[in-house]
Amino acid sequence: MQITDIMAVQARYARCIDTDRIEAWPEFFTESCLYRITTAENHRLGYAAGIIWADSRGMLEDRVAALREANIYERHAYRHVLGLPLLEEEGPEGVRSETPFLVARIMRDGATDLFATGRYLDLWRADETGAPKLAERIVVCDSSRVDTLLALPL
């Protein structure tokens, strides 16, 4: 797995969310996976709970279905800006990387705020075609605060 492969997948991941095609978002993950949104403070203290916590692709699909069909929130979009991934050595589990991000939130009335900054702590595994899939994505937000609510995934 090359760093360019991972960068390409990350770019597609960001575009998938930012262009409101979140139905495709679970496909970036392996069937059994861990997706968790937490904060730097919780991460440092080893607290296991998440703002979102999912250990299967099914749970991610359910999250998308809930956002589309059940949950009520004002229309908004994100703009992800990703930094360069830092790759760690490949281990038996897969390849680990750390990637900084900025996410702006654009509300329906045009108000744009810096919604979150942080880093993705990722574990990548190649699927049968050799494409990197996320076996784990821990989204560590720098701030311990969330403005209003967190609907769309980071």
Binding site: Y47, I51, I52, S56, G58, D62, E69, A70, N71, T148
Partner: protein, 428 residues
């Protein structure tokens, strides 16, 4: 500026100008100005948060050892909650008596004493001033005057009380003991979740709400909105007919419990009739959860209660939604902003399966919660909706006009209860 044409006597307590409309009699009308005025917010600080109330500060588990402290807040006022070597918990304002700077800058820690960074005045763990740098001057020059007595200066101290591991504090000398303030029903139901258990924090998040704090605490007490605003359970056909529930409102009105439980009798009847289909409310949706394990919780308290939302006036919430347990602390940040501090908890003796279930069911609550994310924005919808409507009022007539316990949750009784307590404390 006061309007000098109107005698002060007609102004309700705490208001600096006449209200846009008088507060109508009874508990069913809430004037919108109460969510909008700076003078109301200032008045609440004295009469509600520093008045005859008990306010949640932190968990006892967060300050277990002598010297452990937690920087927290009482209605926005910075507070230190500290465990001293006598085993007792003390609370005092996190504010140096010298020039008003914060005494502690970290959210929590362990210390032998507190020293203000500004001029190094120091305090013991009970908030007593113990040291003044250069008190006697340097080489006979400067220093504090002879008449300065450290014992005469200390940050304001609060009364503290521990209830099933929850640390409450009061700035009032006249407030009733905490057990009386809570009432027996509320105390029992705190004990139901936390009694005799060793709490472990598993996550902490702060949600910033774009609304007045009272819009959030109304929402918490509003059992009427649950199935209407939060469509997650309905959409995925997870509502059960064989549920029973109810609402408990304390005598003061200010504290409440809303609960629902599996109705064992109805369940047995349905099973006997082999009528499994009747257990589910049919809806028009075709949606099913791909991974229903999120709802395979355990009946950890052994009483079939799947939801218990408990509030204590003014800003404390204890939540049990299946196995997702959390404390919520509501803190006003000016008229139109509120901090909602979530502390997700488990117990030291959780089995790994139960702990994993708490993490999974954490998806139901918090800023991204399936059944709570709407509560983050709906207060803002009201705050924005009532702009220009200070002379109008909300209508709270669902389930009658009183603020008493009921067997139904299709009522606004506990919202009316909040306002009953609010008006009593504020005199508005």
């Amino acid at each position: 500026m006061p309007d000098h044409n109107i005698p002060d006597a007609v102004l309700p307590a705490g208001l600096t100008s006449p209200p846009e409309i008088p507060w109508p009699e009874g508990l069913t009308r809430i004037p919108y100005w109460v969510f909008q005025r700076d003078d109301v917010a200032a008045h609440e600080q004295t009469r509600v948060f520093r008045g005859d109330t008990w306010n949640y500060l932190c968990l006892e588990a967060e300050i277990r050892e002598p010297g452990d402290y937690r920087a927290t807040t009482l209605g926005g006022v910075p507070i230190l909650a500290v465990r001293d070597h006598d085993g007792e918990i003390y609370a005092f304002e996190n504010r140096c008596v010298h020039r008003g700077a914060l005494i502690a800058l970290e959210d929590f820690g362990k210390t032998r004493e507190f020293t203000c960074v500004y001029h190094a005045w120091s305090y013991d763990l009970q908030g007593n001033l113990k040291g003044v740098a250069f008190k006697d001057g340097i080489n006979g020059q400067g220093g504090m005057p002879e008449c300065f007595r450290m014992a005469e200066h200390s940050p304001r101290k609060l009364r503290t009380a521990v209830v099933h591991g929850l640390v409450f504090a009061s700035a009032s000398d006249t407030v009733a003991p905490v057990e009386e303030y809570l009432g027996e029903d509320i105390l029992d139901r705190i004990g139901r979740v936390l009694g005799g258990r060793e709490v472990e924090v598993i996550g902490r998040f702060t949600q910033e709400l774009p609304n007045n704090w009272k819009l959030y605490v109304e929402n918490v007490r509003d059992s009427y909105h649950a199935s209407l605003l939060h469509l997650f359970f309905t959409t995925f056909e997870l509502n059960k007919l064989n549920m029973k529930g109810g609402l408990i409102v304390s005598e003061s009105g200010g504290n409440h419990v809303s609960y629902s439980a599996i109705d064992r009798e109805a369940e047995a009847k349905a099973k006997a009739a082999n009528d499994y289909a009747a257990q589910n409310i049919r809806s028009e949706s075709d949606y099913r959860l791909k991974d229903p394990s999120v709802l395979e919780g355990q009946d950890e308290f052994g009483d079939g209660v799947t939801l218990q939302i408990l509030s204590v006036f003014p800003g404390f919430v204890l939540q049990q939604i299946q196995n997702a347990l959390a404390i919520r602390q509501v803190v006003p940040r000016g008229v139109g902003r509120t901090d909602l501090h979530w502390t997700y908890i488990g117990f030291k003796d959780d089995t790994p399966e139960l702990r994993t279930m708490r993490l999974k069911q954490g998806n139901l609550v918090g800023p991204a919660g399936y059944v709570s994310m709407e509560d983050g924005c709906v207060g803002g919808f009201v705050q924005r909706g009532v702009v220009g409507a200070s002379d109008r009022h909300a209508v709270l007539e669902m389930g009658g006009t009183d603020a008493r316990s009921t067997r139904t949750r299709a009522t606004e009784a506990s919202v009316r209860g909040f306002w009953k307590a609010y008006r009593q404390h504020t005199g508005l």
